[in-house]
């Protein structure tokens, strides 16, 4: 059994977690026209990386959404960072810490 780190609860059984999607997908700017191809790219296309991957996961038992960085070949977990902003916004929760990747912010 593998354990993942919930930023809120700490190390927990993998059965408590849900894979929500790849991190870093940016929703098209709907203030201007958006083509079918742009929507398809956002809604359907995936990086599905072999190796390092940044993903949004949910810890189902507490509801915490967070970015987890994993190696998709070895299953090794490289880090977990909350998406939640701390009160007062003093902590840049999105994309901060060891999970900061080339995609920038860790928005789902």
């Amino acid at each position: 059994m593998q354990v993942y780190t919930c930023p809120f609860c700490g190390l927990r059984d993998e059965r408590e977690f849900f894979f929500a999607g790849e991190a870093g997908a940016a929703r098209p700017d709907t203030t201007g026209p958006v083509s079918d191809a742009e929507w398809a790219e956002y809604v359907r296309m995936r990086r599905n990386a072999l190796g390092r991957a940044r993903e949004v996961w949910m810890h189902l038992t507490c509801g915490e959404l967070f970015v987890m960085e994993r190696d998709t070949l070895s299953a090794r977990v490289l880090g977990s960072v909350a998406l939640r902003r701390a009160p007062g916004g003093r902590e840049g929760a999105d994309g901060a810490g060891s999970v900061d990747g080339p995609d920038g912010e860790g928005a789902p």
């Binding site: 059994m1 593998q2 993998e14 059965r15 849900f18 894979f19 079918d36 191809a37 929507w39 398809a40 790219e41 359907r44 296309m45 995936r46 990086r47 599905n48 990386a49 072999l50 991957a53 993903e55 998709t72 070949l73 070895s74 299953a75």
Partner: protein, 416 residues
Amino acid sequence: MGGYSALRLLREGLRDQRGWRPAWRSPKLRKAYDIVIVGAGGHGLATAYYLARNHGITDVAVLEKGWLGGGNTGRNTTVIRSNYYYPESCALYDLSLRLYEGLSRELNYNVMFSRRGMMILHHSEHEREIAARTVNAMRLNGVDAELLDRDEVRARAPLLNFGEDARHPILGAVWQERAGTGRHDAVAWGYARAADRLGVEIVQNCEVTGFIVEGGTCKGVETSLGPVRAGRVGMAVAGHSSHLAAMAGFRLPLTSYALQAFVSEPLKPMLDCVVASPAHGVYISQSDKGGLVMGGALDRVPTYGQRGNLPVQEDVLGGLVDCFPAIARVGLLRQWAGIVDVSPDSSPILGPSPLPGLYLNCGWGTGGFKAIPAGGLLFAHILAQGAHHPISAPFDLTRFERGRLIDEGAASGIAH
């Protein structure tokens, strides 16, 4: 190299088996081919065979990073069926089933296609309504289907759990008489041997590391054995499709998951059809050697590691014991996993890629084995003509942009 026959078996038996020759050559990689196929699994090898047989194109190389048939072709649970919902899917998978029916003769290689029938159980009134709808849809699409009631299910598989304490009581099943199982390795070996005899070159231990792109067109592949130029390149690499697509500079609507399977110690005959239970999330058949071949749902974690995780093992094996209480104490012989490429609508992707000159055969998810003959035949047509076959056209990559999905994940009630 002679054909295989009962007479040949007898003759070699009398000659101390000294007359057998390797079933295919191991040629050196050349610098250029008309067509290069990446991936010597079932789909890649079948594509090469039909390119040579149906289109007369024999200057073909099939490149394989590992060994022939060592990916999902050697890791599946050998079920062959065409019990889908939409007309596009039925046309595709029933073509495959019909090709399987004549495949041993066609390839002169016994693929042990065993038309033993398959039942998909239902466990509630609501599931029964959907099952009736599925049967009607299949019949309208020209595929055989029957709705079995509880007693008919019991007659076919008496060891199923019909007890009062069953977690999911059995109400009936969708039955496809023409479905069955095949010998998975033999399908790869049979296509490899038949393609090789027609002049196709199969090069193993040759990993594709990139694509040669000139003027925005794919002109070949870079490999661990050096560059190879090609008129057209086809990729049939299942779970690693996204990885190759990244090398070619585009993304695919695929997520790679591990699909686990299990085989038990050999038992006396106890089950002579394939049984699937969507409510339990499991399916099971008994191999010719007596082992129970079992599988279930995907691991829910995207992965390229061919192992499989423990929570899904518990769910699958627990579900199977619920279905067949008698197997609770049967020992497992092996467990394994293959990496499957799952698309948003659980239907495959066939046709041109965003990179001109490179063509796609991917997205089969957990259902690639049953589709090998059709996938190969259609992909050969696409590579030879540079255009779709009528059956493959709906499965073009552009459907995700057009919104014309073939959503079998929802429609046929089989999660993949």
